[in-house]
Amino acid sequence: MPLIELTTPFSEEAISQLKVGDVVTISGYIYTGRDAVLPKIIKAADEGRLAEMGIDLQGSVIFHTAVSPAGVGPTSSNKVEIESSLEPLSRHGVKMHLGKGAISKPTIEALKKYNAVFAVIPPVTALLESQTIEREVVAFSELGMEAMNHLKVVKYQAIIGAAKGRSIYD
């Protein structure tokens, strides 16, 4: 399968060209977040506090994972707190939500509205660990492994699971 190479931050044009089933590589800085931290990030974004926290969501990727000494790996993106974050975070500039599992039609429509995509990443922790060259906690460190981290990654592979109103699970 041909690989589409992407580097963060993503442009509107790069995202608009992606379609369901495309396999992409992701390089550059990405954020992490899952159940516990994503609602807090949305609240901070709504209150305009992200800049003071050193977080820039424009053109960004949010990887639905914990970050522990064991490494990283996707959790199910259709958990309530995670899936409900896709619309507001896309509104605040996130271009790619990286996780696993089928998401609902309304969420897919919301991604389309903001020219954002959902990508599925296999739970290949050892491989991802070998492709992660920096990691830093950027917000809500009290959440431990569920804090928001900033990772520098090299060629994570993922498949586009939802884009332009379509889903790979249809």
Binding site: S68, P69, A70, K100, G101, P123, G144, Q157, Y169
Partner: protein, 281 residues
């Protein structure tokens, strides 16, 4: 001389970081015959991950799992309280070496249920499950460590089947339960671990045993039939479609009750499981 603790620790690290050869071959064969490009891509990633994990002795998955222990005991061998303590210490050492995800829940009964007591930051604080002991006809004391992840635990089910004096009825019920579990698991292709016994405890013990002894290259007709029927559902790796929702079924059928009911334990193991390794102590 290597201590019991070091042997157990090494065994746990191998369980959490290594695919066995029959497991690698199962993936290679599946990739060779799978027609869906998406499925092939997923399975190649899983196999590449296994090779990197083995080389680095690092976790296959960030859910490193709960250690489950299975001890085989020759008739001239003995188990002492001291040995069990050394095994427990070896598990803690192995979890720190892997490293395991720090996920021991702290606090009293209520705090452990609602998780209000927080997590212990020490990977080694994670307690192993109760140990299963099986007498065998070998002059050996052999420990198998299994690392069981949370996703399959969520999707697993132990429940009765009214067999109506037909094996096919039992197989069909296993298949129906498996299709639902596999489709919701996400981390497929799966291995289905099955135990059939007289009680919930016995069926679950047999299911554990199936994971200890299961071999991808040796499948009974019972196991093949279940695998083939579940694969007809076209769920595929990561639910993306394809012929390989399940790579194999590992089943253990024990003694049965003189009645119309069979208790079936089913665990849809994730794409890395059964994560297991064994060591002679």
């Amino acid at each position: 001389m290597i201590s019991i603790q070091e042997k157990v620790a090494d065994c746990l690290v191998r369980a959490g970081s290594t695919f066995r050869e029959d497991q690698k071959d199962a993936y290679r064969k599946a990739i060779a015959i799978e027609s869906s490009e998406k499925s092939c891509w997923v399975m190649r990633q899983i196999l590449d991950n296994a090779l990197v994990a083995e080389e680095r002795r690092s976790p296959l998955c960030d859910d490193t799992g709960i250690p489950h222990l299975f001890l085989e005991l020759g008739k001239d061998r003995s188990v002492t309280g001291e040995l069990l303590e050394q095994i427990k210490e070896g598990v803690a050492l192995g979890l720190r070496q892997l490293p395991g995800r720090p996920m021991a829940i702290m606090g009293d009964d209520y705090a452990r249920i609602d998780q209000s007591g927080g997590l212990n930051e020490d990977s080694g604080a994670l307690a192993p499950s109760p140990i299963l002991i099986k007498p065998i006809n070998e002059d050996v004391l052999r420990l198998t460590v299994l690392m069981l992840g949370g996703g399959p635990a969520i999707r697993g089910i132990t429940q009765r089947v009214f067999h109506k004096h037909s094996v096919d009825v039992v197989i069909d019920e296993i298949v129906n339960r498996a299709k639902e579990g596999v489709s919701k698991l996400g981390c497929s292709p799966c291995v289905l671990a099955v135990g059939v016994g007289r009680s919930q405890f016995e069926a679950t013990s047999l299911m554990m045993e199936s994971m200890v002894y299961g071999d991808f290259s040796k499948q009974t007709d019972f196991e093949k039939k279940i695998t083939e029927k579940v694969n007809e559902a076209n769920i595929g790796p990561l639910g993306l479609g394809g012929k390989h929702s399940v790579l194999a079924t590992f089943a253990k059928i024990g003694p049965q009750r003189a009645s119309g009911v069979r208790i079936v334990a089913l665990r849809p193991c994730c794409c890395f499981e059964p994560r297991r390794a064994c060591v002679e102590l």
